[in-house]
Symmetry: C2
Subunit: 415 residues, 2 copies
Amino acid sequence: MRSDPLKVVQKYGGSSVATPEKMAVVAGRVAKRAKDAQVIVVISAMGDTTDDLIAIAKKVNPRPDPREMDKLMASGEQISSALLTMALHNLGCDAVSFTGAQAGIITENIATKARIKKIDTKRLRQELNKGRVVVVAGFQGITDNNIWADITTLGRGGSDTTAVAIAAALNTPEDPCVCEIFTDVEGVYTCDPRIEPNAKKLDTISYEEMLEMATQGAKVMHNRAVELGWVYNVEILVAHSQKECPGTVIKKEDKNMELRNPVKGIAHDTDVAKITLVAVPDRPGIASRLFKALTDGKISVDVIVQNMSARGKTDISFSVAEDDSDKAMEIIESIKADIGAEDVILTKDVAKISIVGSGMESQPGYAASMFAALAEKDINILAITTSEIRITCLIKEDRIMDAVRVLHKTFELDA
Amino acid sequence: MRSDPLKVVQKYGGSSVATPEKMAVVAGRVAKRAKDAQVIVVISAMGDTTDDLIAIAKKVNPRPDPREMDKLMASGEQISSALLTMALHNLGCDAVSFTGAQAGIITENIATKARIKKIDTKRLRQELNKGRVVVVAGFQGITDNNIWADITTLGRGGSDTTAVAIAAALNTPEDPCVCEIFTDVEGVYTCDPRIEPNAKKLDTISYEEMLEMATQGAKVMHNRAVELGWVYNVEILVAHSQKECPGTVIKKEDKNMELRNPVKGIAHDTDVAKITLVAVPDRPGIASRLFKALTDGKISVDVIVQNMSARGKTDISFSVAEDDSDKAMEIIESIKADIGAEDVILTKDVAKISIVGSGMESQPGYAASMFAALAEKDINILAITTSEIRITCLIKEDRIMDAVRVLHKTFELDA
C-alpha cells in the first residue's frame, strides 16, 4: 500500500541518460516527482562512458591498478550527476549534485568492489531541507571521513546499491524513504515475456523471491541491492525509465494473502555451462580440493551434483557461468591428476530453469509437478538443486523456451 | 644556478597527454626524473576533454550553473591523473594519483575561478616519503577540509597555478622545491621566433619581466602562476614537453649581472581593439563612470589615453581584447548619452608592441630609441603606455611584424 512518501530515492541507469535529450526526459520525471516529495536521484555514468574509460585504461596499462581504476571510473558518475543537475536547473528545479564523498558514503578500502560501511547524511539532509533535489553520483564512495581519503567504487550493481543504501540511511518507521529503480524493463514478470507472451507483470514480490528470481537470471536489479533493501526494510519499486506505467514493488512478504499463488515466477538462465569430472576416487577431501581451487580462481560455482558411488569411484558435476567455463577447465586440468579424475567433460549447451515462490516453502508437491511437466514435454533433467523457495533444474539449452512455457502454464501464472 | 633538487613539481599540459602514446612519453620523462628526485606531477585534462565537457554542458543547459560546471570540469583532470599514474606503473614506477582534495588544495568557495587559500600537504608528504611519484589533478581544489565540501576549479592557467602553489607549499630555503612547466614552446624568447628567426631563447628571466612579457602576449604560462612563484620565491623552469632541450628559468632578478642587456625581450599582441570616445565633456567623474561600467561588465581595459582638452571637450581612447570589443561597445552605447560623448569609434585592426626589461628601470633613453626605431620604419604610434620595466605602443595590426623585427634589431637582442 504505497501512499505519497515524503522521501524518495530515484535511480536511473546509464542508458536513461546517454544523451542530452534523454537526460532532459529524466530531468522532467524527477522535477515532477519533486513537486510532492523530497527527491534524491542516484545516477549511473552516461551510456558507454564506463566502457570507454576501461578501454583507454587498458591501452595505457594492460593491467591497470585497481585504486586508479576506481578514481577513473568514478569520474563517469561525477560527469553525469553534474549534467543531470544542470538539466534540472534548465526546468527551473532547484538541485545540487553530490559525489559519493559529498553524499557521505564511507566504504571499505577495497578498490573496485568496496562495500558501504556507513552513510553520513549530514549535508544530504541540509540540502533536502532547503527544498533541493540532490543528484548523487552512483557506484562510488570514499574510504574515510577526510579529504585525503581514496575514492572507491562499489562493483557490479553499484548504483542500485547506492540508491538503496541512501534510502536505508534516511528510512525510519515514522518517516519512510522508498527507493525507485528506473531501468529498461517495466518490472518483474512471472517469466521472460519475450518467451511467453502471457507472462504477467507482478505488482509486488518479496525480497526473498526477488533474490531467487535475480539469481536465476531475471536481470532486473542487482541482488546486493535487494539484500540491502531486505535488511533495512526499504520498499523498492522497479519501473521503466521512459514509460509511464506501474512497475513492481519489492517488499516484505505479506503473509496474510492466503489465496496467492505459491509459485511466483519462472526464472531461467542460458549463460550456463556444465562440467563433469568422471570417475573421481570417492574419498574425503576431493570435493573440497576441487572447489577450493575454483574459488581461488574466482570462479562462482552454482548447481553441484555428485552421483552415487560405484566401485569406489563417483562423478561430480557442477555448473558455472559460460564465460567462466574455459578458465574453470584450465584450473581443473591443472589439478586433474592430483584429484585422480579419469576425464573432465565440458558441456556448454545447458540452461537452468527454476520455479520461485515463498508459498512453496510449506507446501509439498511442487517439485513433483515441475518434473512431471518437463517430462511430459520430453525435456531431460540433467541436474536438480533446490532452496526453500526455489526448485531448479539443469536442462539442454535448446529446450529452454519449451520449458519456460510449460511451467508457466502448469503453475497457472497466466491466470 | 640549478643543482639537482630533492623536490620537483612537474606540470604537463593537456596536449602532452592527449593520447595513450603521448602519455607514455610523459610517463617516461617523469620516471627518469624520479630516479634522483621526489617528483610531484601536475596534469591537465587530456587534449580536448575540457572543450568536449563544455560542449555537452551547453547542450544540457545553455547557462550551466558554475558549481556544477566546476564538478564537471574537474573530472577531466581526475581522468588524466589516474591514467598517467597507470602509465607510470606500466614503467615500473611507483606512483599514486591525487584529486585536488587529496592534494589538500583548499580554495575559496567561488566557482570557476577559485583562488587557493592553503595547501595541506599531509598526505602528499606521506606518499613522497614512501618513494612514490604523486600525480595531482591540476586546475582544481575543494572549498573546505571535509568530505562534504564542494569541488572548485581555479580558472584560466589553473594547472600552472596548482603546480607553482604545490612547489611553494613544499619549498623551504634549506630544502628548495622547484617547479618545471612543460608546454609546447621551448622557453621564453627575446621575441616571437615565428616573426624574427634571430629570436634568442632566454636562459633566465625575472618574475617581473616574465609578467610583463606574458601580459604583452608571450603565451608561455599564466601570470597568476608567475606571481605566485614570485611571492613564494619558487624557481620555475619553462621547457618543451617532448623535446630534450634546456628551457628558460623564471627566478629572482640577479642584480649582479651588470653587463646584461637592459632590454630583455619584445612582446606583442594582435588580439587588441581600440575604442575612442570622441568629444567627451572634460569634467571630473566622466572617466570614472566609463571605466566603472566596463569593469561591471567584466571587460579588462589595457592601454588608456586621454588627449588634451580643447574647447572643454576631450577624446578618450583605450584598448581591450578583441573578443571583448563588441560587448564593450554595447556597454558604452548604453551610457554614451549619459557621458555626453559625441561619437564612439571602434578600431579592430590594432596591435600592441612592448619592450620589456628590468634594466631599463634606472636608465633613460629607451623610450626615445623605441619611438625612433618605429618612426624610421614609418610605423605610426596610436598610443603609448609605460610601466617601470616596460614601454608599450599601440600600432596598426598590419605593421606588427615589421615593428617586432626592427625593435629586436635596435636593442641588439639577436647579439
